[in-house]
């Protein structure tokens, strides 16, 4: 664990919140929060899903207007009534969900709202060149003239980071920036954060990954239920204390795994090739977690998309329960008991404007409406069960999924397949943005699925997670499996090296 570079010690707050309050219809998201950020520090904020972290950030960036309270910037009261207010003070953020324009190029996104022009005309070439220099300088392996929508989520997140760093910032906020990043990119991001911090930029850092807090931050504040419960100096606290502050209950163990005996073969894939991956062979037994690790873009997602019938295979064979199958379409896959919990919950996993209950029941509407009319009782019970089991924080089952916090949205995406009762579960980054407590809940859900005879394919860019949970781990690199290991038979560093492919 490396120490942050020594900075001039200062206690003067650059930004201070006093009694800040935020209410949404039906939700009291922030309750009289007092919080001071010191000039030049790295200040972490932790809290459970729905604790109000993102709301706090949105208030600081002018994206939401607070309901009450004052905000002081360098001792002076400021309005922060619009994003422009925040930007002109030098406050910038990398938001939890990537908010960029997918139709524009990387360079156009980086300069959005701050274009370089000459006599009113855009200097596109100059912007691409400048953006490319910036990306190269940050060590991000991206092209400035690529269209953003062509990039994977993790890469888009890097663009958002570059963009925030490009804007002459004084105060930079990261809301779960590593959720979609690989180890390698996380390291780059941390280097960038330290460098900016060394240049005097005050950093606010939100994450559910405790080890990151201890690696990076000087101080850490804990939010629970919209209230600030504590601020600690990182060097004087520990994970146990933080978690206790966060959840006000103790959590037995963060990485939770029960030994479950493996049963017969559920899925057997031989030499499968398709768009973005080639020659993949693996087996999944009942009661087994098969982990797929690799860098973003290594072909893991492409492989499972094909398995799920979203893209056409060009070669190879898939056997399900011993029988060769051809899955042409998602509905084939679902009918055969395969469930995919996709990586991008906003685009692929949720009907954002529809209610929580609606989303939870989406895969089972066919079953609960045998006459064609929906059995609303079954609908209500199915929703209530998952909301209770996964502890989804929502005002009611009727509120739109869009109004839930990021982690709670993720729980819906997982929960809807639990209602469906599939046998082969494909989880693509299931714990992205999920707090420690819920992670344990999701791991427990894994265990109960496995006990019931299901098999799981787990994709995760978070090595500790795949490492701990997998009965067998396949490492992907450049579209194919480059190494396979039995549970914990290889050192994590080895796996990382294999994934990077050096």
């Amino acid at each position: 664990m490396d120490n942050p570079a020594p900075r001039p010690p200062t206690d003067a707050p650059i930004l201070e919140l006093r009694q800040v309050d935020k209410r949404f219809l039906g939700t009291h998201a922030l309750k009289q929060v007092d919080l001071a950020f010191r000039q030049g520090e790295i200040h972490a904020i932790v809290g459970e899903n729905g604790a109000g972290k993102s709301t706090l950030i949105k208030i600081l960036t002018g994206a939401h207007v607070r309901s009450a309270g004052t905000i002081l910037w360098q001792g002076r009261e400021v309005a922060l009534a619009s994003p422009l207010d925040a930007i002109s003070l030098g406050i910038n953020a990398v938001h939890q969900e990537v908010v960029l324009c997918s139709h524009l190029t990387v360079a156009a996104n980086i300069f959005l709202g701050d274009e370089r022009t000459n006599a009113g005309l855009l200097r596109d070439r100059a912007m691409v060149a400048e953006a490319q220099r910036l990306l190269d300088d940050l060590g991000f392996d991206l092209r400035a003239d690529a269209v953003l929508g062509d990039l994977a989520i993790g890469q888009q997140q890097l663009v958002a980071t570059a963009r925030a760093a490009a804007r002459g910032v004084k105060f930079l906020i990261f809301d779960e920036p590593t959720a979609y990043l690989t180890r390698q990119d996380t390291d780059k991001l941390f280097r960038l954060i330290r460098r900016l911090n060394g240049e005097g930029v005050t950093i606010v850092y939100i994450s559910h990954r405790m080890e990151e807090i201890f690696q990076l931050a000087d101080r850490v504040s804990v939010l629970r239920d919209g209230q600030k419960v504590a601020t600690h100096v990182v060097a004087e606290t520990n994970e146990r204390e933080l978690i206790r502050d966060m959840v006000a209950r103790t959590i037995e163990e963060v990485h939770y795994k029960e030994a479950i005996p493996a049963g017969d073969v559920l899925l057997e894939v031989t030499g499968l090739s398709g768009p973005g991956f080639r020659d993949v062979s693996l087996t999944v037994r009942r009661g087994e977690v098969v982990g797929l690790y690799g860098l973003v873009g290594a072909g893991r997602s492409e492989f499972v998309q094909c398995l799920f019938g979203r893209t056409k295979r060009s070669a190879g064979q898939v056997k399900l329960r011993g029988e060769p199958v051809t899955i042409h379409h998602e509905s084939d896959a679902i009918a055969r008991g395969i469930a995919l919990v996709p990586e991008s919950r906003r685009d692929q996993g949720l009907c954002l404007n529809m209610g929580v209950g609606f989303n939870l029941n989406l895969p089972v509407f066919g079953r609960i409406s045998p006459t064609g009319l929906v059995d609303t009782g079954a609908e209500r019970r199915g929703a209530a069960k998952q909301i209770a089991d996964l502890r989804i924080v929502a005002a009611s089952a009727g509120v739109p999924a869009a109004t839930l916090s990021g982690g709670n949205q993720q729980k819906i995406v997982v929960g809807k397949w639990l209602n469906h009762g599939a046998e082969l579960f494909i989880f693509d980054e299931p714990t992205v943005g999920v707090d420690v407590g819920t992670k344990v809940e999701i791991y427990k859900v894994f265990a109960s699925l496995l006990k019931a005879g299901a098999g799981i394919i787990l994709i995760s860019s978070y090595l500790p997670e795949v490492y701990d949970l997998s009965d067998r781990l396949h490492v992907f690199s450049r579209g194919t499996i480059v190494a396979s290991h039995d549970a914990k038979s290889a050192h994590p560093e080895t796996i990382l090296t294999e994934a990077i492919g050096v």
Binding site: A63, L100, G113, D114, L121
Partner: protein
């Protein structure tokens, strides 16, 4: 999903603006289609390849082209402007009334265009300030403006326009019909506005992800105002031109042209989901529709067939465009 080469391997630095390439390819296809149509019509009819007919084609095309460009500005923001046909009708009656009342030509034009811009601002007000969906707001103004035109003219035709004004549309400058010159005079600044200025960039940003635009300090509201004002302003230009062309003011002029403008824009590669579109695309789209119209007339095709042909054409062109986009993604 990303392709694996950009992620894992340092990619070669060659320009690869996929979305630009799509626009370019589509435009080439449309151009080729136009040439084929023109050749076919020249061979199969005696009157198509005549100077008179070609001029006529350009004149009719100029109306739809100008409207299609304005519509494209709106569609890029993921909106829709159903009121443009009604704006054409109303502004053409307004200018006819002004001219018939003895107001000088230049002043009549200025007043009419100001009214056009104002109508666009009203649309934007409903969408931005009242938060009505664009479809609903412009449907409402379409209905209301059409009635308003009939109301102020009492359903009568307005004649007695100055000859100088009427002759403008039938004259040519340097051999090119004046109306078509107006298209060029409008298309060029529109090109710079859409593709080369930051305002244009904001139109795309708002169409792509309004929240991202807002968080970047872009004024989403102002951008939407811009789009609808441009659209209505261009429609009012068409109103002026059409009054000159037919030499009278009729409140029902331009009925159904809103759909023509949407069709031209979409055929020209504009995506109704927003953030995809060019200036040249709708120009070509409008020319294609005009040619089909003109050709069908010359070939004595039952005019009822024209709509069917246009409908099928929209489906075919947009289908192939979608197909190609999906393949390359």
């Amino acid at each position: 999903m990303s392709d694996i080469s950009t992620a894992a391997i340092p990619a070669p630095k060659r320009p690869a603006l996929k979305s630009h390439r799509f626009g370019f390819l589509l435009n080439l296809t449309l151009l080729a289609l136009l040439v084929v149509l023109w050749l076919a019509l020249s061979v199969s009819t005696r009157s198509f390849a005549t100077f008179g007919n070609f001029e006529n084609l350009l004149r009719q095309d100029s109306m739809w082209s100008i409207m299609a460009v304005g519509q494209t500005f709106v569609i890029i923001t993921a909106g829709i402007d159903l009121s443009v046909g009604a704006v054409v009708g109303l502004t053409s009656t307004v200018i006819a009334m002004l001219l018939a009342g003895g107001v000088p030509i230049w002043a009549s034009i200025v007043i009419t265009l100001l009214i056009g811009g104002l109508l666009g601002a009203i649309n934007a007000f409903g969408i931005v300030n009242l938060r009505l969906p664009p479809f609903i707001m412009t449907l409402a103004t379409m209905t209301a403006l059409r009635s308003f035109g009939l109301l102020i003219t009492d359903g009568q035709t307005i004649g007695g326009l100055p000859l100088k004004f009427i002759l403008f549309s039938s004259h040519r400058t340097l051999g090119i019909p004046n109306l078509f010159i107006i298209v060029i005079l409008i298309a060029v600044p529109c090109y710079f506005l859409l593709h080369r200025s930051r305002w244009g960039r904001y139109l795309f940003a708002v169409g792509s992800n309004p929240e991202a635009a807002r968080l970047s300090g872009v004024s989403v509201n102002r951008t939407i105002y811009l789009a609808y004002i441009v659209s209505a302003l261009l429609a009012s230009v068409v109103g002026v031109l059409v009054a000159s062309r037919i030499g009278i003011g009729i409140a029902t002029t331009g009925q159904g042209w809103e759909l023509q403008s949407i069709a031209s824009s979409v055929i020209g590669g504009t995506s109704l989901f927003g953030a995809v579109g060019t200036v040249i695309g709708p120009l070509l789209g409008a020319m294609l529709l005009t040619t089909i119209n003109n050709g069908a007339n010359l070939m004595n095709v039952n005019p009822f067939w024209q709509g069917i042909i246009t409908g099928l054409l929209i489906i075919v062109i947009v289908y192939f465009d979608q197909l190609r986009r999906r393949k390359t993604r």
